[in-house]
């Protein structure tokens, strides 16, 4: 059933009795052309684009819990393409373009809100670095504006301009950046894929791979063996674990990142703002909660929870930047497991196993990548060759030195 204001009205008149499930509760079949492991944003988007762009509809997404139980439903919903390096900008900009047309494409309102992403700078060196980045974005045809302090003040007069330890000197604004309702992305892609024939199989954990002579035959799952000509892994925080079942050791560490939401309040913060002298970023959800976060906890972990020192650090950043939020209460804190790669950039590539493909290494920035990641992973799986905008995301780049290190932190994943 198509969603629209009209269908909503019509259904309101009949007591909403005729809505259909957003996606079928599919049961695993014996085999598929393609099995995607992981029902997060990336896995679901991949399945959708396999069907839509490549006509491959005999596809299953297998998810160990419920779809969206991973990072796609835990992130702070920020989307942007304000990247610096040539390997990244075209990819994230393609993602941005897909976001811009997503809702009409998948017929689901994911509340793509281009409210602007503002990064603040607090020193001359930081301003120069922003200029470099802003210029790089412009060279790629991406919108960017370098703001003076007074322009920042106009956008966010409540920031600490008076007694800041690290005074705000300006900022880099990407007006097209913003936020997207994260759960809706998973549900919207699931529904759109389902409508094209994709099976979404929940509560089905992949426990192993069946590989013969270097070729993939299918996946072992908690609900039995599922045969497949091709298998794509899109399990984000569990990438090392899942790839390990295929005998691979990935250049990835798993770390906890926390996020926080405050009680709902009337509109207070209209853009996405990131602090440049500490780890803190914030936006306000349409429901009114301030959604904020900061640094990862710093130790390797598969536990989806964080600890107090990081909570304190994040809130310190928040209070330093916008002292008006002191009396606003934090309502919930939670954590997700980040697939932190060695250069902070992702991997979308073939693996040494024929027919097995890898999508991983998203660190804490993979939500914004969801559409392009799905698009490019589908392309790779369908055609066996990388999509142009994702061509740099090779697994062997750590061996060859063609790393894509935006932050210049090197092979220390917890610093990316």
């Amino acid at each position: 059933m198509q969603y629209s204001a009209f269908s909503l009205l019509k259904n309101a008149l009949t007591g909403h009795r005729y809505w259909k499930p957003a996606w079928r509760e599919a049961q695993p079949r014996d085999r598929y052309d393609v099995v995607i492991v992981g029902g997060g944003g990336h896995g679901l988007a991949t399945a959708y684009y396999l069907a839509k762009n490549h006509g491959i509809t005999n596809v299953a997404v297998v998810e160990k819990g419920y779809i969206g139980s991973g990072n796609v439903g835990r992130n702070t919903t920020i989307v942007r393409s304000n990247y610096l390096l040539p390997g990244n900008v075209p990819f994230y900009e393609w993602s941005m373009k897909l976001w811009e047309g997503l809702e009409r494409d998948i017929n689901y309102n994911a509340m793509v809100s281009q409210r602007g992403v503002l990064n603040l700078c607090h020193s001359d060196a930081q301003r120069d670095a922003f200029a470099r980045r802003g210029n790089a974005m412009r060279l790629h045809g991406v919108d960017s504006e370098l703001l003076e302090k007074e322009q920042v003040r106009k956008i966010a007069p409540y920031l600490n301009f008076d007694d800041a330890r690290f005074p705000i000197q300006g900022g880099l604004l990407q007006p097209r950046g913003g936020t997207v309702r994260h759960d809706a992305v998973a549900w919207g892609y699931a529904r759109a894929g389902d409508r094209r024939g994709v099976d979404i199989i929940q509560n089905c954990e992949v426990t192993g791979f069946r590989i013969d002579n270097g070729k993939i035959l299918g996946v072992e799952t908690s609900r039995g063996f599922i045969g497949a000509s091709k298998v794509g892994m899109a399990v984000a925080g569990n990438a090392s674990r899942v790839a390990g079942m295929a005998g691979m050791r990935l250049p990835i560490e798993s770390h906890v990142l926390q996020a926080f939401v405050s009680e709902g309040i009337k509109p207070l913060i209209d853009t996405v703002i990131t602090f440049g002298a500490g780890h803190f970023y914030i936006s306000q959800s349409d429901k009114g909660g301030l959604v904020f976060g900061g640094d990862i906890d710093g130790y390797n972990s598969y536990a989806q929870r964080g600890n107090l020192p990081t909570v304190e650090d994040v809130c310190e950043g928040g209070m330093a930047l916008m002292p008006m939020i002191g009396r606003v209460r934090m309502l919930r804190q939670w954590g997700g497991i980040m697939d932190m790669s060695m250069d902070g950039s992702p991997i979308i590539d073939r693996t040494p196993v024929d027919g097995l493909y890898l999508n991983a290494g998203w660190c804490y920035g993979g939500f914004k990548a969801t559409p392009a990641s799905g698009w490019c992973f589908a392309h790779l799986i369908a055609r066996d060759e990388p999509h142009a905008v994702a061509a740099a995301y090779r697994l062997d780049r750590f061996a060859t030195g063609h790393v894509i290190d935006e932050k210049g932190q090197g092979a220390q994943p917890n610093l990316h």
Binding site: R17, G68, A131, R132, N135, R165, I265, N307, M319, V403
Partner: protein, 996 residues
């Protein structure tokens, strides 16, 4: 306006202090209450039940509970900069002068225009927004979203900085008892009598829990008296810390508990020097969770109408606060506990009109009680709908056991749907609660290490078992913490039964039946969610927003789950469990930040010459945590460039001094010190003669430059390394890692001495003359005795020990003089007077930067974490004779490609043009596009020596392109100029000046 009398205050009883009267205002109306009241109880005593408007439909909502689980009665407390949105009136301790305002309504609470939303409710069902608002695309940000945002959110945050302060503290104990009700008090007594150091926390301002609100008898005394005696004993015990107004909000790893103490929230403003709140991190050997249980709703039509109240809350208001929420009450209970309400109402003189108990048969004693109260009894009956207005309840429709519907006039309805044990803290580390059919509730599953659950929190809802639990678990906890416990005898209390018949939702309701009050989630929304496939609990929660409001669904979640279970024909545990995330109740962001705000966000590190520089009127700049002098304006100098040019010219022409103490200094000692340095630096240090200094660069393991600096050899087994200011800690960490993890066999020790030494760069042609005047007579610092890149120990100013390094960052004849930090202030003054006759100036980081750019030294902007040694022109330093960290990885093809951007100098073709760092290089005439991007400008400076701007940059194949012209393209600053590539060394390329 004078306040009206407290019309609903009972004539006697309650734990309030009637001898004092407190004035307060709600929505501008003056009212009074007493110490011991909460805002909610005071409102009730003044006849006000209506306290807020709901989130989506703006339905009028009344006070529902008497605790932190309150979904409805949220107010804006205080005003101005202290305004706190969404404050639960049920947890606010009344103080004199309190001002509160209802929220999310316009123009008034009684008449709210937005309640038209209720008419649109057939459209505003769960998830409606995912289905519409998609066309046209641009309307989302411009029209739909602003409308939604304005309608959503409840209270308004203040837009002013929070004027109060917050504190953080640590506490350690043997036994932490969470919750000071009968169980918790008993557990604390039991553990304390064993000698354990006990911390007892309760979120309430008074200990006692349900003892305050029920007519209990323990050991022949009233519950309140027993409690008073227990608290007295605990207070006398020095090993016990009693923390009232303290919520343990989270359980974390390593037996750490987060707790929030509301130190000054019960006062109009905190007293001087008093924090508003204090964040405690309590590390407990053992913890006893005695947080009680939360009564839950029953879902029926109009169950959200003002006047509908939890039965336990009603008893709290009557017994503890002596306030009557109703005069003609209905009671709807599916369990024995709810029946306590009847007896309490009789005692308080509140008329019970009807008792509706869905159970087919109830104990005879209850029938008698109903008769005694003169109440109509509906055994096997159900409340289908409650009717009323914003002003209060008018009637309820009761479906009798025979299927008739009867209307009963009431002005209040007490509801008890059973109890949910408060097990949130057992789940914060990831454990799931488990379902117990006998009490129809979730109880703790696996508990975190060291934590046990006691009393009502385990599902033991009668007082006798609670006390027994407290005795036993308190003693066991003390024992586990190493004490010998003698379990006290369990006080006597009467037995109680629960006899619960699960009832989640009444069928046949004609009006809206709410599950989650605050988020306006109705039973119908759950039906829609199920229909659309959002059947897993988490999907249900996220699709309908059930349980995501400020009360985290404390009164709602289990009902939602049960309704979903019924719809899908599964059992409740099959349907899922509820998840609990910290914090248990919301915590002010300011409390987590503590003092770390404003100037105190991070420590400020001051250089040894800071006070002197401040006297000179220096302009300071943040360099990491350091404050450094950026330049020293002279009278009449109005713009920074004038001052900086003057400083540079003075250094290059005479002499200048700069505090360089912020650079990292690491003292490295031991027989293998040289070996360690050989391995971390790309160039060799073990062959460096004593008394010599060498420039070195070190790589990360991945072959990228990590840091650079000079290292001096002071003795055969002693070096002192200097690092960049930015990387001081990182390099120290790296060396420690290398030593402790990679090569523990090396005989070497190191310590950071950055803060132990004041270090001044004295640079310029007259530097030696200046130095000469400072050092004590016997030392020889002639060019022969102390040549370029030499180091010597000396004394200055009559015996102050120091080190003199002949090194230069500026490219001039220069020294760095290091003295113990405490002499820094004196020595900078001495340097200035010694140099006065040569025209010495103090120079800051700007002039320092100009001179290093003129000399082509790479610094922070070039050491950008992606440049290799070769990129920076340091390739020839990479030793071929020895191994060093990063050597192998630096040879990867991606890092050796000659096309990589590498260091070059740049000058504007039109010498009047200004250069800008961050500009990208494009070929002349090339279209501005990513494929034509050749690199970028890293650092720029106006060179007073050359009278034009100079820059350093990384450009493809840079060293081989000197003389070529390119575009410096800077669209974000509307810059686009032609520049010429040149050598990065603009001044004295042969280095003659260094060696004079």
């Amino acid at each position: 306006m004078t306040p009206l009398p407290q019309s609903r205050r009972l004539a006697s009883g309650g734990l309030i202090d009637r001898s004092r009267t407190l004035s307060f205002q709600f929505d501008g109306k003056p009212m009074t209450g007493h110490p011991g009241d909460t805002l909610a109880s005071a409102l009730i005593a003044n006849g006000t039940i209506l306290a807020g408007r709901s989130f989506k439909y703006h339905r009028p909502r009344g006070i529902l509970t008497a605790g932190s689980e309150e979904p409805n009665a949220l107010v804006e407390l205080r005003s101005g900069a202290r305004r706190e949105p969404n404050t639960k009136a049920t947890t606010v301790e009344l103080f004199d002068g309190l001002v509160a305002r209802s929220q999310n309504r316009w123009p008034s609470l009684g008449f709210d225009v937005m309640s038209v939303n209720s008419l649109l409710s057939p459209i505003f069902v769960a998830g409606f927004y995912y289905k519409t608002f998609m066309w046209p695309a641009a309307f989302w940000e411009k029209l739909y979203e602003p409308l939604i945002r304005r309608a959503a959110g409840l209270g308004r945050a203040s837009r002013e900085p929070d004027p109060d302060s917050y504190e953080k503290a640590f506490a350690f104990c043997d036994v932490l008892v969470i919750g000071g009700g009968p169980t918790g008090l008993m557990a604390a007594l039991s553990a304390a009598r064993a000698g354990a150091h006990v911390i007892l926390c309760d979120e309430d301002f008074s200990f006692g829990g349900r003892l305050l609100s029920e007519q209990f008898v323990i050991d022949g005394q009233s519950g309140a008296d027993w409690k008073a005696a227990a608290v007295f004993e605990l207070e006398q015990n020095p090993a016990v810390t009693l923390m009232r107004r303290t919520t343990v909000f989270g359980g974390y790893d390593q037996s750490t508990y987060g707790a929030l103490e509301r130190v000054g929230d019960h006062l109009p403003v905190p007293l001087p020097h008093m924090p508003r709140q204090r964040l405690w991190k309590i590390v407990a050997k053992r913890a006893v969770l005695a947080a009680g249980a939360v009564e839950r709703q029953i879902v029926f039509g109009g169950n959200d109408r003002p006047g509908v109240m939890m039965a336990s809350a009603l008893r709290s208001y009557v017994n503890r606060f002596a306030a009557a929420p109703a005069q003609r009450l209905g009671l709807f209970t599916n369990n024995d506990d709810g029946w306590k309400t009847v007896a309490d109402c009789i005692r308080a003189g509140i008329k019970v009109e009807a008792v509706i108990d869905p159970r087919p048969a109830i104990p005879e004693a209850f029938r008698q009680l109903a008769i005694q109260a003169g109440a109509r009894l509906f055994e096997g009956g159900l409340v289908q709908d409650a009717h009323g207005t914003a002003r209060g309840l008018q009637s309820i429709d009761v479906m009798t056991s025979t299927g008739r519907t009867e209307s009963v006039a009431v002005d209040g309805l007490a509801v008890s749907g059973g109890w949910n044990p408060a097990v949130a803290l057992t789940c914060h580390l990831g454990a799931r609660p488990v379902w117990r059919d006998d009490i129809s509730a979730f109880v703790a599953g696996d508990t975190p290490p060291g934590l046990v659950v006691a009393g009502a929190a385990t599902g033991a809802f009668d007082l006798r078992s609670c006390l027994a639990d407290g005795v036993r678990l308190g003693a066991e906890a003390a024992q586990a913490a190493g004490f010998t416990a003698v379990a006290p005898t369990v006080p006597a209390a009467s037995e109680e039964t629960l006899g619960l018949m699960p009832l989640w939702k009444v069928t046949g309701a004609r009006t809206k039946a709410f599950v989650d009050f605050q988020n306006d989630v109705t039973a119908k929304d759950i039906v829609i969610a199920e229909r659309e496939g959002f059947r897993s609990v988490e999907h249900l929660k996220r699709y309908t927003t059930l349980g995501m409001a400020t009360d985290q669904g404390k009164t709602a979640n289990v009902n939602g789950l049960a309704i979903m279970a019924a719809l899908t024909g599964r059992s409740i545990p099959e349907t899922g469990t509820t998840t609990f995330r910290p914090p248990y109740t919301p915590v002010a962001i300011g409390a987590f930040a503590g003092h770390h705000r404003g100037k105190h966000f991070r420590p400020t590190r001051l250089t040894p010459s800071h006070a002197w520089a401040a006297e000179q009127g220096a302009q300071f700049v943040e360099a990491g945590q350091w404050l450094r002098a950026q330049w020293f304006p002279k009278p009449g100098e109005t713009d920074w460039l004038t001052s900086v040019n003057r400083e540079v010219i003075a250094v290059r022409g005479a002499v200048g001094v700069c505090d360089v103490s912020t650079l990292g200094k690491i003292d490295i000692q031991g027989a293998d010190a040289g070996t360690l340095l050989d391995r971390v630096y790309i160039n060799g240090f073990s062959a460096l003669p004593v008394g010599k200094v060498r420039y070195g660069a070190m790589l990360r393991e991945d072959g990228i430059v990590m840091d650079d600096g000079t290292t001096a050899r002071l003795a055969q087994d002693r070096y002192v390394m200097s690092t960049t200011t930015a990387n001081a800690a990182k390099v120290m960490q790296h060396l420690e890692f290398c030593h402790q993890v990679l090569w523990p066999e090396l005989d070497v020790q190191m310590v950071s001495v950055t803060e132990q030494w004041a270090q001044f760069s004295i640079a310029g042609p007259r530097a030696r003359d200046t130095i000469q005047k400072l050092i004590d007579p016997m030392a020889d610092v002639s060019n022969m005795a102390l040549p370029y890149m030499g180091v010597t120990t000396i004394t200055v100013c009559g015996g102050i020990p120091g080190r003199l390094f002949r090194i230069s960052f500026s490219g001039e004849l220069a020294y760095e003089l290091a003295v113990p930090a405490r002499y820094g202030d004196g020595v900078i003054r001495a340097i200035m007077s010694a140099g006065a006759e040569y025209g010495i100036v103090a120079y800051g980081t700007e002039a320092l930067g100009v001179m290093r750019i003129e000399k082509g030294h790479p610094a922070g902007n070039e050491l950008n974490g992606t440049a290799t040694a070769r990129d920076l022109g340091l390739g020839k330093l990479m030793s071929q004779k020895k191994d060093f960290i990063g050597r192998v990885m630096a040879e990867r093809s991606g890092l050796t490609n000659p096309d990589r951007p590498s260091l070059a100098g740049f000058v504007p073709v039109n010498r009047a043009d200004r250069l800008r760092a961050g500009a990208h290089f494009l070929g002349l005439g090339a279209h501005p596009s990513a494929s034509n991007d050749q690199g970028y400008m890293t650092s720029v400076a106006f060179s007073p020596s050359l009278s034009h701007w100079v820059g350093l940059g990384l450009i493809k194949n840079g060293p081989n392109r000197h003389g070529e012209r390119v575009r410096a393209y800077d669209p974000v600053r509307r810059g686009d100029i032609e520049v010429e590539i040149c050598s990065p060394v603009f001044i004295d390329p042969e280095g003659g000046r260094l060696r004079v």
